[in-house]
Symmetry: C2
Subunit: 412 residues, 2 copies
């Protein structure tokens, strides 16, 4: 049984390194007598690499080599990853991938193809880096009807928010620091606008509820609009602002899913998740709440998840272990505006006292928040629970308030 | 494929209830067309039970019924569970158990027997209730060399300590409250003296490091000696007291393991684990720290783990999936006194200032702690890191200090 690794970037090189480092125990756990990496595919040259003869640039060497039973895809992006992975599955080779975009956009197709070919398509590393989550959901919690899943799924934004909370940094300064530390890319859009977290909650929601959820179906809001004022009001309320991705069963046939900044209470399991760490909460009918916490990204943590999948592939060579995963259907994901929510509102008013009385008259019970050095024209409050659309409409009907920031309040 | 449940207590009745409740999805996930509970073995009568005809009192009905492929053992205790389980495995039936005493004392033997008979012996529910931990360690973290595992593994003692910390209760009052709430048994010895946590860390250490660790090999200290004063000093130090079970690789051939109260810092992932919740931290060479959190006991959470194992058994009927597990060897577990530790010391002295100077002269750097209304003759401090035996000997050499409480300080 031999392996090919496609993509020798951060994760791919970590996979090769970890595989060599713990080779003996990996072989023993894989129940194979022989298991080694034969090819490393990457278009770039790596003159310093100790794996000289393994580096190749021609994908067809992998595709046409009958010795290759497991292909690790750590290239990222949709093209050419999708074509390569499809071709490998079609040729009866198992795939292990860390590519969340690929799984979120093409998971249904690829899993179907893997099923037809009776090979594995495993993607533990695509969510939560090294944190075990895919297998726990599909196996350990299999006796539960999962009602809800939520998480801090993006380390970059969590690092930025942590710096805004604990060091009182502005968003811009915190982003700069994240970039200087290598936690954020030069173009941080996919992280700070929520697309990365969105792909991951799509994968988790699909596993929990059985139907493919596509990124385009999930309302996604990033953290670029979060201001220090919001962080201060969250503190005065007794919590912190986190970027939370969540998916919830609404009824037998529909779910809701959203990625957005949210207030979480300071006693929440999410509140203490700082810096680049991730945490995922699963709410089942029997188990109650379970939380998985750890490094959600990084070279070796992600490699750890990839190699675990490789071991699993080597142990179960000709059988697809994943649970059912059916394609999406129209209206499967309900609009979050039609769901219940509690909102934090910050805004301006020429007459704060009057506006707050008006807000109470229109919205019902509200909890007014205060902060140090609050300008005379600033107000902030938390609404009662209600249908989000209705709360927003009522809010807009209050002419004396100019809303600046509206953030969801969670009960995790 | 039919199932027998042995023991219709809290967990056993939860298993039957959950199995019936989520029957349809359980069948589908098990990839069987038929999967039902045929027998419920218990010596007691259950006239109100809706499963009238399934209740039996004769174990031989299970043993001699070729239809029974999976036997769930939720009786607890060693006898007759060990005899029944051995007999079932010997007859080629897979076992799913929640019985931590059985696994901790007889796991090696039973797993060997299961291997010989090519059937499953699964015990996810024996540690951490419904928290997925056995499978994540053996599968998801398989690419890691695990360096250390630690946890809050006993809900009863964690509830008591939480009440002592947040409600300033005495140990006695908190124990009484735990008993009134059904969290502690009338005879709470196994919980409060640490035996329950000890069995669980034995199972975890065995899985992480590959050799059976028996409860008798692990130094075990409970929480009965923890006083409110210690809780106050922990707070002044910046943390809380928790009952921590831990096992660590010392070198290639040996491990250390201990169950004892410990100071944990308030930013630790363990500090926020309150009431009857459990948390388990795994430290691997690639993944870093991963934490699993959830309900460590209780009817439905534990049943959730049992039924997940049943589904796994049904999917993999004739193959033992567990990793290698070899028997213990002499001196495998080193004495914790020969390992490095940091200790908190509370004691009495007729001249506190003089004693603290003496302590500093003998022990090196110490961090002196203070609390509100501290009696003039009371002192408390944290030592520097050193071999535990040496610290304790030096401490005893300081004649002017009468130590009352010595508690380990962790860095989790």
């Amino acid at each position: 049984m031999r392996i090919a690794v496609m993509g020798y970037g951060i994760v791919g090189s970590g996979v090769v390194e970890l595989f060599e480092k713990n080779h003996e125990s990996i072989i023993s756990k894989s129940t194979q007598t022989e298991l080694d990496i034969k090819y490393i595919l990457d278009l770039r040259d790596f003159p310093e690499s100790p794996y000289g003869e393994k580096h190749i640039k021609d994908f067809n060497l992998i595709l046409n080599d009958p010795e290759i039973g497991i292909v690790v895809e750590t290239m990222g992006g949709l093209r050419p990853a999708f074509e390569y992975v499809s071709a490998c599955l079609g040729a009866g080779k198992s795939i292990v991938t860390s590519n969340k975009e690929l799984v979120a956009e093409k998971g249904y197709e690829l899993l179907k193809l893997a099923n037809e070919k009776n090979v594995n398509f495993l993607f533990e590393a695509s969510v939560g880096g090294g944190i075990p989550i895919i297998r726990p959901i599909t196996q350990c919690l299999a006796a539960n009807e999962i009602k809800e899943i939520a998480g801090i799924l993006n380390g970059t934004t969590n690092f930025i928010l942590t710096k805004m909370i604990t060091d009182k940094m502005s968003f811009e300064d915190a982003l700069k620091l994240a970039q200087d530390n290598g936690y954020a890319e030069k173009d941080p859009t996919a992280d700070v606008e929520g697309a990365d977290a969105c792909r991951k909650i799509c994968i988790l929601a699909t596993l929990c509820f059985g139907k493919h959820v596509y990124p385009g179906e999930v309302a996604t809001e990033g953290i670029t609009a979060i201001a220090s004022e919001d962080v201060e009001y969250a503190a005065s309320w007794g919590g912190v602002v986190k970027l939370i991705a969540t998916a919830k069963r609404v009824n037998e046939h529909r779910i809701s899913a959203i990625v957005s900044p949210a207030f979480v209470e300071s006693h929440s399991q999410f509140a203490g998740v700082d810096d680049v760490f991730n945490a995922i909460l699963v709410r089942g009918d029997a188990i109650g709440d379970v939380v998985f916490y750890g490094r959600g990204a990084g070279k070796m943590p992600t490699a750890s998840a990839v190699v675990a999948d490789v071991i699993d592939c080597a142990k179960h060579t000709v059988r697809n272990k994943m649970m059912g995963w059916s394609d999406s259907s129209p209206d499967y994901v309900v609009n979050h505006l039609d769901c219940e929510a509690v909102l934090y509102v910050r805004g301006f008013s020429k007459n704060v006292d009057l506006s707050l009385r008006e807000a109470e008259a229109v919205l019902g019970d509200i909890k007014v928040l205060y902060r140090k050095n609050q300008p005379e024209t600033e107000l902030a409050f938390i609404t009662s629970a209600g249908i989000e659309r209705e709360i927003r409409e009522k809010l807009l009907s209050i002419d004396s308030i100019v809303p600046v920031s509206i953030i969801r309040v969670t009960d995790y």
